[in-house]
Amino acid sequence: MPKQFLVFASFVDRLNDRFGVLASWMVLIAVLVSTANALIRYGFNVSSNGWLEAQWYLFAGMVMFGAATTFRLNEHVRVDVLYAMYPNKFRLWLDFWGGIVFFLPVTIIIGYYSWEFFVTSVIQNETSSNPGGLIRWPVRGAITLGFFLLTLQGVSEIIKRYAAIIGMIQIDPKYERPLQ
């Protein structure tokens, strides 16, 4: 396998880690926005649909921009009844084929359909149906972008698994259940 593949993979990893940082900040910002919404509504009897919708726009951002880096870190939960018993080599093969047969079809198909959805929203200049609500295309676009980033990450993981199988690199395929 040419080295360029691994260069691409590490580029994708760094790109998605950046988006992960953005998604992490969105957690704190959402906490603050949501608290402010509650306090202002009680303190001053003022409430704005725009700011209320900003809460879930941020939520959408955390999910869509954070999913790829979470995938890189192997923190999407697995049913590990059998997985716990697999030898390391087998885990690499599972992730390699799983990436091709399970992961990419899902992210590519949803990503593809969401593109049309995003374009429609831009053309219609769609807004919230609530008075004072927000314009819709940014959040629709976040879905498309999120699935695009996930697709890139899927390719990166497949490359790295293959490289590990043929011994070009070392990967520790250990898996710990994410905290809940």
Binding site: A30, V31, V33, N37, W56, V77, I109
Partner: protein, 481 residues
């Protein structure tokens, strides 16, 4: 060629096989959905355009106000775990109760309940108690099975005591109010804590050697200093409970806002304990981001599965299967609970809630089952998924923090009686629905066609109705353009 009626059961079987392979659940779920969608399209059960519902369904998940509280409660738990609140409470209460038999175990249960009423995550409680209480209990001669069992079980109390991620997810899937779900869970939470304490009480009588009192030389002086320590541990917790639960149950805030304010409260608490550092906040932010992405992606994966499953009329299949059960409501509930208990051995509760509940809810509704009751019941049942050996999350965390001298088999055997206690709780809720409904203020429909007529407007002050004169109307018609 697969016959039409067989598609749904085959798809359900396929789901279990795909998941068991061990590839991340979110994408396995999505893949099984797409795989059968292609078969469905080949068989002409629906058009490829049917899949265009997918981005709209993803959008529906992301724009859901209820789910937004998941990152907030997770963030709050992550901050609290690191800010020393649990430590202060455990040490204080442990010293207070230590001199009586089973005292340390009671302290663990109480602290588990208090932490549970603040946050919604199991990890925070189990890890804190595993680190602090387990060594003390073992040092003073507790049976390791009892010690690990009580810690793991008390850590999972948080799933039933509001606020709770399980209840939020269930409320969303059942289309009910989170506030009502919280109110409904109050009774069962109290019963659960009581059951746990009773169990320790029985142990202290029949197997006192398992839960010894602290020896005299280890007992602290019960003095003002001790009380101050306990107060310092408990007062901020009560304040935080009020901030989160109080504002939600009193209606000052929505569950989402309650979670957000609780997160700010946790930050303040960490600052008061002088533990608010940049790294702590950053770690909480990133771990919250990842947990949240993981959870919501399971939901996204299961929405792909759910769409195809409906496309092949799987919902009708489940409905026929379950409405045909003997025994009406109770028969259905017992069957469903056995099923969920079984699934909980290898699926975690998010997976169960997202895949199974949407299929069960319409059937329950059709059988006239109160969905709040149903939800709390399932919540209590799914709590056991944290305790099932060998894959329960709580046991897994405990294994991670327990000393190497504690055998894994002790942790697994230790969990069994507590799983039993949780099943007793499930039975109590099934047979005494009032344990849930008593706390829920339920609007009643009274559609009644009988009885004498009353004039609805009798005695009501009315706006003057003016009728224009004929001449006025003629003029208006002439002038109308």
């Amino acid at each position: 060629m697969i016959s039409h009626d067989l598609m749904a059961p085959i798809m359900f079987g396929g789901l279990i096989i795909f998941l068991l392979l061990g590839y991340p659940a979110a994408f396995s779920l999505g893949a099984v959905g797409l795989f059968f969608a292609f078969i469905g399209i080949e068989m002409g059960m629906f058009q490829p355009t049917f899949l265009q519902a997918l981005p709209d369904r993803v959008f529906g998940i992301l724009s859901n106000d209820l789910l937004l509280s998941i990152p907030f409660f997770t963030f709050m738990g992550a901050i609290l775990e690191k800010c020393g609140l649990a430590e202060d409470m455990l040490e204080g209460l442990g010293q207070l109760f230590g001199p009586i038999r089973g005292g340390l175990a009671y302290a663990v249960i109480i602290v588990g309940a208090i932490l549970g009423a603040i946050t919604g995550t199991v990890a925070a409680s189990v890890i804190a108690m595993g680190l602090i209480s387990l060594p003390i209990m073992l040092r003073y001669g507790y049976n390791p099975r009892v010690a690990t069992g009580v810690i793991a079980a008390s850590g999972t109390i948080t799933q039933l005591i509001p606020p709770s991620l399980v209840l939020i997810v269930l409320a969303d899937q059942l289309g009910k109010s989170v506030g009502d779900m919280y109110a409904g869970a109050i009774g069962p939470s109290i019963i659960q804590v009581a059951l746990f304490c009773l169990f320790i009480f029985f142990l202290s009588i029949f197997r006192p050697q398992d839960v010894p009192a602290l020896p005299p030389e280890a007992r602290p002086k019960i003095d003002w200093k001790l009380f101050k320590k306990i107060l310092w541990g408990i007062v901020p917790s009560i304040a935080l409970i009020f901030l989160v639960l109080g504002t939600i149950l009193m209606g000052l805030a929505t569950p989402t806002e309650g979670g957000a304010m609780g997160s700010v409260g946790a930050l303040v608490l960490a600052a008061m304990n002088k533990r608010l550092q940049k790294t702590l906040v950053w770690e909480a932010m990133t771990s919250t981001m990842r947990i949240n992405a993981m959870v919501i992606f399971i939901l996204i994966g299961s929405t792909v599965f759910g769409l195809t499953f409906r496309g092949v009329d799987g919902d009708l299949w489940i409905e026929e299967l379950l409405t045909g059960l003997p025994g009406g409501q109770v028969g259905f509930l017992i069957a469903v609970n056995l099923f969920v208990f079984f699934l909980a051995f290898f699926l975690d509760y998010f997976e169960i809630a997202f895949i199974i509940i949407p299929l069960l809810a319409p059937v329950a509704d059709k059988l006239g089952i109160d969905l709040i009751w149903f939800g709390v019941l399932l919540g209590a049942n799914m709590q056991t998924s944290f305790m099932h050996p060998p894959f329960g999350f709580a046991l897994f965390y405990l294994r991670g923090v327990a000393d190497k001298t504690v055998k894994s088999s002790d942790i697994y055997y230790g969990a069994l009686p507590w799983v039993g206690l949780q099943l007793i709780l499930v039975a109590i809720i099934i047979f005494i629905p009032e344990t849930v409904t008593y706390f829920v203020d339920k609007p009643t429909a009274a559609f009644d066609a009988s009885g004498p007529s009353v004039d609805p407007l009798a005695g009501v002050e009315q706006n003057e109705i003016t009728v224009d004169s004929s001449a006025d109307i003629e003029r208006q018609l002439r002038e109308n353009k």
